[in-house]
Amino acid sequence: MSATIQTKSYDAAFVSAVRRESEQDLALCYQCGNCTAGCPVSFAYDFPVNQIMYLVQTGRKMEALSSHAIWLCASCETCTTRCPNDIDVARVMDVLRHMARQEGLVAEHSIHAFWDSFLSSVEKYGRVFELGLMASYIGKTGRVLTDADLAPVALRKGKLSFKPHDICGVAEVRDIFKRYREHRS
């Protein structure tokens, strides 16, 4: 996939929000391309990660937040490890997807649905319940055959439980989610 960067007006509020939320100064990025050179998921990105950094540097909010790249980032931390100016690039990618979600810009719906299903499972039981997670994910995406081939293998190996791994302190975990939402609203 490829895309061209269009000239757009500079969104100063966006630039300062990324800086504040990520605690990273993107003015330090001189576009060496080390992040992109090491990025394992670059082949699937619409913008390589150095261009995502450039979109932020030049205040192009909509292009950055509408990109597929920010959802596909696997959080492998290679970019962060190799940045010669110690920019935590993976943290910037995280912050961009937080912002995209808040703006309702979701370029990768299945990934968005998977994360939501995962966190619902944690909120409900305190730990992840894989079968429940998959049922919820399939419900959100309609992808009924997702990993259907793995289920019999996982069952045979005793790696899939029919019961949730709920914890005694599940109310405490639900309260964390509740207070987090109140804090953010």
């Binding site: 997807r97 994360w115 966190l119 005793g158 953010r184």
Partner: protein
């Protein structure tokens, strides 16, 4: 060695897809004299979904476990899972900033210091037990077995948070496996990403990235891959058939957890080691090893 007491954080996968990693890790730690006490009623750290949705939510989920561990009279917190480890350590690192610490406590609803040492099981193995001790325990060295060590991407990254081993060329697994008689082949992809949790949502990405790891391991002449990460192991092992189908490859490479091999080299077998839990069976490979060691294991 002084006997260390650690708060143990198994992580959710240890109860499911990586139960053999959990059980062999517990067995290994017991043998090497570590006292593991599970963090009572621990909760999921939120893994990638939590930090990809909100850093405050992620830190608050982690902090409940930190707070419980702080009441335990232990030398630190250890976990076998690199993803849990990264979340635990990143939270601790970010909570050094007082405003963030205060926010997390507010969402958590209790006091947390976030000051206990947090390490991987691999790190305490190397630092507390030591390679020599592991070699001494190895009464049935796995001579003849050729492997590539696959650390995955985040066991040592980002380096200023993880603070263990080399982020580009880690050697902890190489050294441990060599000490138990295994031939460890040079492996350029030892810290490359397997595609992580994109397996469910974007199988194409995992087929490419994990496929590359399998291809390179086979080309290096490895009999097997050795991992320290539940997600890497699941992608390479349980998804190996999916990957073969997508890429037109025909790999049959067993993917061990390092803890399984340490126990095997210590002459231990059985349910706790969980070799039968691996999807690509390792049994014909193990029985083909030298007759001296192979018999007992076949």
């Amino acid at each position: 060695m002084t006997r260390s007491r650690y708060a143990y954080y198994p992580g959710c996968s240890g109860q499911g897809t990586s139960r053999e990693y959990d059980s062999s890790t517990r067995a290994m730690c017991q043998d090497l004299g570590f006292e593991l006490i599970d963090i009572p009623d621990w909760n999921c750290c939120g893994s990638t979904p939590a930090h990809a949705v909100d850093h405050l939510l992620s830190a608050s989920l982690v902090a409940r476990n930190l707070a419980i561990a702080e009441d335990m009279d232990v030398d630190g917190i250890i976990t076998p899972c690199p993803s849990c480890l990264k979340n635990l350590k990143t939270t601790q690192h970010r909570m050094l900033r007082p405003e963030f610490h205060a926010e997390v406590q507010k969402v958590l609803g209790r006091v947390v210091r976030a000051d206990l040492p947090i390490k991987s099981v691999l790190q305490v193995l190397v630092e507390d037990a030591g390679i020599e001790r592991i070699a001494q325990e190895s009464t049935a060295p796995l001579t003849g077995l050729k492997v590539v060590p696959y650390y995955g991407c985040i066991m040592n990254r980002p380096p200023d948070v993880m603070r263990f081993d080399d982020p580009e060329n880690p050697m902890a697994l190489d050294n441990i496996l060599t000490a138990i008689g295994i031939e460890v082949l040079p492996f350029a992809l030892k810290t490359d990403c397997c595609g992580a949790s994109l397996g469910t949502t974007r199988r194409d990405v995992v087929a490419r990235l994990s496929g590359r790891v399998l291809d390179a391991a086979a080309a290096a002449g490895a009999d097997a891959i050795v991992t320290a990460c539940p997600l890497c192991q699941m992608n390479l092992d349980m998804r190996q058939a999916q990957i073969n189908k997508a890429n037109g490859s025909h790999h049959r490479l067993p993917v061990f957890y390092y803890s399984q091999l340490i126990m095997l080299a210590a002459g231990q077998l059985g349910e706790r080691i969980g070799l039968d839990k691996l999807c690509v069976s390792p049994f014909s490979l193990l029985s083909s090893l030298g007759s001296q060691t192979g018999e007992a294991r076949s």
